[in-house]
């Protein structure tokens, strides 16, 4: 809750800048609100942005708890999404209830593998996970583009995208959330994301494994002295982190589009870092932080259309100010506590 102060400070400064750009900040704010929650259609779009942000926020939050910084959620979700599409295209005969489960499992496996690589390199070679995950983001983007355009392309379209997965893989007909928000990409994976967030909360705060993971994050040397295997936690936490990011395949490929579209993600993996920070790495908080960032993303997209001076990039500026506000507040608290601690 404390982080909301930083959030509002950031938002205030961002709106102040719209004022200097020659717009009425109250008008801008009302557009933001209206376009994020104004109608069922708008809300559906907001939720469709929220779902992948929950997955990515959880991914980053888990790595933060283990003292790691997973900057690679973007690459992990890309690999997972292309995997889900590829399975759906290459094995069209699999019958319905098994088909999406198979594709989702494969996506989680590949996402987890994409997280395993930096975790394992950190454990055996000491390579810093930030560098490795950033490089893997590029490898993932290149690999996914190649697969989408050369191996399983959509021959009926000019767009850079894969062919459609077999209908057995889609669960639209059973999807209550998609029915509430017709004509939007919102789908049942929103519920799955919330379920997984609760599950992660239980794992992190209620299990021995979660304790070991947090101990490693709080003080890795002490954790090792206490008999916790550093390498095990490094590798496992990065695998879990990668799998969580891989959950995006469910909402974006199996839940709505039915195919992999190059550039479908507006950097969900990176916005996930902001979500995790905003939520103070609390899995339940991630749900709300993701909703907020999703709403902001949706609102900012409409600002582009409704005003002349504010472009789509302005959404990035608002997000940047919110992260600055939140991080600034966290830093301020840190300074205050460390000043007391000194004495």
């Amino acid at each position: 809750m404390k982080r909301l102060i930083g959030l509002f400070v950031g938002l205030f400064i961002a709106l102040l800048i719209t004022f200097f750009a020659g717009e009425n900040p109250f008008h801008i704010f009302s557009i933001l609100i209206k376009s994020a929650f104004g109608s069922m259609y708008d809300l559906g779009l907001t939720l469709s942005y929220t779902t992948p942000l929950i997955f990515c926020g959880l991914s980053v939050a888990v790595s933060f708890h283990a003292g790691l910084f997973n900057v690679g959620a973007e690459g992990q979700l890309t690999m997972a999404a292309i995997t889900a599409a590829a399975v759906g295209i290459l094995f069209p005969q699999v019958p319905f209830p098994f088909a999406p489960i198979l594709a989702f499992t494969a996506a989680l496996f590949v996402g987890g593998f994409w997280g395993f690589i930096p975790g394992w390199l950190r454990a055996v070679r000491g390579s810093h996970e930030v560098i490795i995950t950033i490089m893997l983001n590029f490898i993932a983007a290149g690999t996914a583009n190649w697969l989408a355009l050369k191996v399983i392309p959509n021959l009926n379209s000019q767009n850079p995208e894969t062919a459609m997965v077999s209908n057995n893989y889609l669960f639209k007909d059973y999807d209550l959330i998609a029915r509430i928000f017709p004509d939007t990409p919102a789908n049942a994976s929103f519920g799955v994301a919330i379920f997984i967030a609760v599950l992660m909360w239980i794992i992190i705060w209620k299990t021995t494994f979660g304790f070991e993971l947090r101990a490693m994050g709080a003080n890795s040397e002490a954790a090792q002295r206490a008999g916790i295997s550093k390498n095990k936690i490094l590798v496992l936490s990065m695998i879990i982190s990668g799998m969580l990011a891989g959950g995006v395949a469910l909402s974006e490929v199996l839940g709505s589009a039915g195919q992999y579209r190059v550039g479908f993600s507006p950097d969900y993996g990176f916005i996930g870092i902001a979500v995790a920070l905003l939520a103070n790495n609390n899995p339940i908080g991630v749900i709300f932080a993701a909703f907020l960032m999703g709403a902001l993303h949706k609102g900012a997209a409409d600002l582009d259309m409704e005003t002349t001076t504010i472009t789509r990039d302005f959404s990035r500026i608002i997000q940047a100010f919110i992260i600055l506000g939140v991080a600034g507040q966290a830093y301020w608290e840190h300074l205050r506590t460390s000043r007391i601690r000194k004495n």
């Binding site: 299990t207 101990a215 709080a218 002490a222 002295r225």
Partner: protein, 501 residues
């Protein structure tokens, strides 16, 4: 307390947040004396000195220097009033020479030109006069700890300071170096300098100071003329109650049982090495390892508790522990705890594998809380709040928790590395008695400490580690500060070797 006071504190108070670090502190120091400032950790003695040196600004009260009220905004103001301070952790640029380190400290414009040869001559004269001779052309990293400290003091003397504040100056010195330092300080006193020395070692207070001010819980309890007081009285004033004197041991070492056996151990980590280490610890026995810090203690600890973490190339020999083992880490904040996490999680750390605290993959928080509460009660850890972040506890209470966690597992072998570092007298007593109790229940203890007093009160045998080798062994009946201290300094290696098993 006659003579003209050079420093006077009048009702000085300062608080940080809700914590009052100094309240109504009043005392005075006569010119040309050595004045001890003693107190437990967190008693406010360092805070008071930091106010004097301009690092903190008092909320209330006055500080008078030579009868004139001063209000220092920064340490530069303090230096202008000829006050200098040697911090516990040296403030030296490692890669520069000793001379450059002093020149760095020189007053004046940043652009003024200092003639090195002139300055060197000038400094050498000062060094000679006060007996602080060092090699001015040596790099800091080549100087011994004692020489580094002499350099720190020279830095102050080069400013013509009249008041010297020394914060725990003997913590890192060998007994011989302490003797040299005290001689030099006496010389400074005879030159008319005033010296304030912050310490918790009462023996040093008795042998060095003229008068002493006792701090407890942020307040000045009293100021005494040292020669009119004694050790026991000062200890009582510091702690606020009478300390129970340790009972001599009632049981003998159980030589039928060997809980730790180390043979032909050679290991290396970064710059610290140990060679040909052979020793054992019996049940009901406390074996002490003496040595100035940096003679291989850290790698020895690592070899005992985490040899898998060491590079195989750098490790050879045999370490065998029979039964269960626990360790108190030498640096509790770094190795022993999760500072930002609550007390109960820190109590759980290291016991997370125990069946009684687990239910399948889940932790049994109620059980853990119950055990934590019991430990808090038994070990008198304050404040009694198991949800408080560990770092909010004072050093003594932190260490008590670490000890409680280790000893509540009823181990066969206890590795106690610096078990009372940074801990106040009351807690030291408590921890010592707990270690004695664990020993009497049959545990073997390996005690690694830089405090010779601690080793001599607890140990049955003392091994001296010097440059990675055991160069001497002493049995309880032969304990003497002089011979052990000499061995810690590396002298008499040959004669002691002959005595060594």
């Amino acid at each position: 307390m006659n003579g003209n006071p050079i420093i006077e504190f009048q009702g000085v108070s300062i608080s940080f947040g809700d914590i009052s670090a100094n309240s109504e502190v009043s005392f005075s120091v006569s010119a040309g004396t050595i004045h001890g400032i003693i107190g437990e950790n967190g008693a406010g003695k360092s805070t008071a000195m930091n106010i004097l040196f301009g690092l903190y600004l008092a909320d209330q009260g006055k500080v008078l220097i030579k009868g004139k009220p001063v209000r220092f905004q920064s340490s530069i103001d303090a230096m202008n009033e000829k006050i200098g301070m040697v911090h516990q952790h040296f403030m030296l640029a490692e890669t520069l020479t000793a001379l450059d380190n002093i020149l760095l400290y020189q007053k004046g414009s940043a652009f003024s030109i200092l003639r090195r040869d002139e300055q060197k001559k000038h400094l050498e004269a000062i060094a000679k006069r006060f007996g602080f001779e060092i090699d001015f052309d040596a790099k800091i990293s080549e100087l011994s700890v004692g020489a580094q400290q002499r350099l720190e003091i020279l830095k102050i003397l080069s400013q013509d300071s009249e008041i010297l504040i020394l914060d725990e100056p003997t913590a890192v010195l060998t007994p011989q170096e302490v003797q040299d330092l005290f001689c030099n300080l006496q010389k400074l006193k005879s030159e008319g300098k005033t010296i304030l020395i912050i310490t918790h070692k009462l023996k040093e207070v008795m042998s060095l100071t003229d008068s002493v001010t006792v701090f407890r819980a942020g307040k000045v309890i009293t100021t005494k003329v040292t020669s009119e007081s004694n050790l026991a009285e000062l200890a009582e004033l510091m702690v606020g109650h009478r300390l129970v004197t340790p009972q001599e041991r009632s049981t003998a070492a159980d030589s039928s049982q060997t809980v730790l056996r180390v043979s032909n151990l050679n290991a290396q980590m970064n710059s610290s090495k140990i060679h040909d280490i052979n020793f054992h610890v019996h049940g009901k026995e406390i074996v002490g390892i003496a040595g100035v810090e940096g003679n291989g203690q850290d790698i020895l600890v690592r070899s005992l508790i985490d040899k898998q973490g060491l590079n195989k190339k750098n490790f050879s020999g045999e370490v065998s522990v029979s039964g269960t083992m626990v360790s108190f880490p030498e640096d509790r904040l770094r190795f022993g705890c999760l500072p930002s996490r609550p007390v109960w999680e820190n109590f759980f750390l290291g016991q997370q594998g125990l069946a009684k605290f687990n239910w399948g993959p889940f932790i049994r928080k109620t059980e853990i809380l119950k055990s934590t509460k019991r430990a808090i009660e038994n070990y008198d850890i304050r404040p009694t709040n198991e949800f408080l972040p560990f770092e909010k506890l004072s050093g003594g209470n932190q260490q008590k928790l670490v000890v409680a966690r280790a000893l509540s597992q009823n181990p066969h072998f206890i590795l106690a590395a610096q078990p009372t570092r940074g801990v106040d007298i009351g807690a030291i007593h408590f921890i010592h008695n707990e270690l004695r109790a664990a020993r009497d229940h049959g545990a073997g203890v390996l005690l690694i400490s830089s405090e010779l007093d601690e080793l001599m009160t607890l140990s049955d045998r003392i091994l001296v580690l010097y440059k990675g080798r055991f160069i001497a062994e002493f049995h309880r009946e032969n304990f003497s500060e002089i011979t052990i201290g000499a061995a810690m300094g590396g002298v008499e290696v040959i004669t002691k070797n002959a005595e060594f098993l």
